[in-house]
């Protein structure tokens, strides 16, 4: 495959996955309605704490919770769907490295997760008077894709487990809330035990939330954008190794198909 063909394949794969997920009515409905709950959590928490000035901060954190959950669950579910639909074997048997097939799938899950962030902010503004302002609009335009890429690559590392195991949902379900907490979405990391901080630095969720917050509320988003993209490269490299290893094991254990 020529070098020019790779970006085209990634873009098409991403577009196909976003289109496929977006044509599933119930999924979109839950992505748009569930954030009401996230917005309510943010609003009532910070109102109870007499911190109305921090409502936008909290709403972004709540929205990022939605993005992370959709990315994590969506990436795993995408692999489960592909296996059930008999598509996984056809993707594996394509002559491109499977990591390049998987990357757009999890990036698409992170992109669809962004519906959740947008919906949380809109619901917060409509129902709970969350003030919506954007301090650095151009940097917000960079923060959003950087966050999608960071989360997509972390999602890919998780999804690689699904290549080998048919029922890896327990793993992804288990990781939802610890990552949410360690990323400081709603509770600042400074309030958590000291050992959590290094963990939070390794999570693109932490830097993605920081980049979007500083773009909207004010501050310096560029370092967070850089950290998010740097971690994305690291997770991509790690996922490339695990995908390759798990693909070979799956061929050995015959777990690519349903039975």
């Amino acid at each position: 495959m020529s070098r020019a063909a790779v970006p085209r394949m990634l873009l098409r794969g991403w577009a196909i996955q976003v289109k496929d997920s977006s044509s599933f009515g119930f999924f979109i409905m839950s992505s748009l309605i569930e954030p009401v709950i996230f917005a309510a959590i943010a609003a009532y928490m910070f109102r109870a704490g007499n911190r109305p000035d921090a409502l936008l901060y909290a709403a972004i954190g709540a929205g990022m919770l939605g993005v992370w959950i959709v990315t994590l669950i969506g990436s795993g579910q995408a692999l489960t769907f592909l296996r059930h639909a008999g598509i996984l074997e056809l993707l594996i048997v394509a002559p491109v490295p499977f990591v390049l097939v998987l990357a757009p799938i999890t990036l698409a899950a992170a992109t669809v997760g962004m519906y959740s962030l947008a919906a949380t902010l809109v619901w917060g503004w409509l129902l709970f008077d969350v003030p919506l302002g954007v301090e650095h609009p151009w940097l917000l335009l960079a923060s959003v894709p950087a966050t999608v890429i960071g989360l997509g690559m972390l999602g890919m590392l998780m999804a690689s487990v699904f290549v080998l195991f048919r029922h890896a949902n327990a793993l992804t379900n288990m990781l939802g809330y610890p990552v949410w907490l360690a990323s400081g979405f709603l509770v600042p990391v400074s309030l958590l035990p000291d050992w959590v901080r290094p963990v939070s630095w390794l999570l693109p969720t932490t830097w993605g939330a920081e980049a979007i917050r500083t773009s909207m509320i004010g501050g310096h988003p560029l370092p967070a954008i850089g950290a998010c993209l740097g971690l994305a490269i690291g997770y991509f490299a790690l996922a490339a190794l695990t995908v390759r290893h798990f693909e070979r094991l799956a061929r050995q254990r015959a777990s690519l198909a349903l039975a």
Binding site: G13, I16, A85, I87, V93
Partner: protein, 325 residues
């Protein structure tokens, strides 16, 4: 030069039973299968369900690692040179799975064209060509979920042909497709063979194999029991006559009694929606119809016919002898 080579291919699976005291069992699905397929040849792998056809095809398409033995496609090892093998083959399986149902056919084909590095400048032309080959031109903008089973199967074949592979693996492509759809698919497969593609086809429809294949291999219980052209295999049973009886309520005991009639070589009983079909193979020249009817007990009998043996009878003979030994 052989395009596809299977040399002593073996594959076993591990399964476990029990919850607290788990016991692991090893099941040998394929036990040392060897065959070669030459350039431009259409080779059919025939066998009952669970015979090892799909496992063999999955090893040759790189989806499963062989437990032992080697497989080669165009000289590339299927276990170690996966990228080269994958770039040279088209893989199509039967059934209505394997497609993005909520997307239209065009999106499905474009995506796979990118995965197979079909150049953008020729992609549009190639997609139009494959749609034309499988007779789906004009339907490509419809969502796949609205397609009939036959249309999905044809779309599968179109997907498998996008990169114009020299080698095509077709795993039961007509399964579950209605008779008209099956006939159209067979026409498509015959056209591919005529175009010089090397094809490995698995099926358990004998007339399909008889009509399409240059050579067939009969596989049962993971072993290749016989191989040759349909004519060669039919020659194995040329000295026999087949009595075919449409019946109801034929019991297993009655079938056993038929097997004990002197001169009877094989007996099969197929359950069908509208009754049963009993086939009794015997040495030609023997008139056994009355003897057979006498041993059917209370079974109700419909049409009775005596005919020359077909590939299916050869298949039954090979499988029956193979599973006895």
């Amino acid at each position: 030069m052989s395009v596809i080579e299977a040399d002593g291919l073996r594959r076993s699976y591990r399964t476990s039973t029990g919850v607290l005291r788990r016991r692991t069992h090893e099941i040998e699905a394929v036990r040392g299968v060897s065959f070669t397929i030459d350039k431009g040849e259409l080779f059919g792998l025939l066998g009952p369900n669970g015979a090892g056809k799909t496992t063999t095809i999955k090893m040759l398409t790189t989806l499963l690692l062989p437990t032992a033995g080697t497989g080669r496609v165009l000289g590339y090892d299927v276990a170690t040179e996966t990228a080269r093998v994958r770039a040279s083959i088209g893989y199509v399986f039967g059934g209505d799975r394997g497609l993005y149902e909520r997307l239209n056919a065009l999106d499905n084909l474009r995506y796979f064209a990118d995965l197979y590095a079909v150049e953008p400048r020729i992609q549009r032309k190639r997609i139009a060509e494959v749609l034309d080959i499988v007779g789906l031109s004009g339907r490509e903008r419809e969502r796949v979920e609205g397609y009939s089973r036959g249309m999905r199967q044809r779309l599968h074949i179109a997907r498998g042909l996008l990169h114009d592979p020299p080698v095509i693996f077709l795993d039961e492509p007509t399964i579950g497709v209605d008779p008209v759809g099956s006939r159209e698919l067979r026409t498509t497969i015959a056209a591919l063979s005529a175009a010089g593609k090397t094809i490995l086809l698995t099926t358990h429809y004998m007339f399909e194999a008889d009509a399409l294949c240059d050579r067939v291999g009969i596989i049962a219980k993971g072993q290749l029991l016989a191989q040759g052209s349909p004519a060669e295999l039919k020659a194995r049973v040329a000295d026999r006559t087949v009595v075919e009886i449409e019946a109801h309520a034929v019991t297993a005991d009655a079938v056993e009694k038929l097997r004990r009639i002197p001169g009877v070589v094989a007996v099969t009983l197929d359950e069908r929606d509208d009754g049963q079909l009993l086939r009794v193979q015997s040495a030609s020249g023997l008139e056994l119809t009355q003897t057979i009817l006498a041993r059917l007990g209370d079974a109700r009998v419909g049409r009775i016919a005596t005919r020359e043996p077909t590939l299916e009878d050869a298949y039954v003979d090979v499988v029956t002898q193979g599973t006895r030994s």
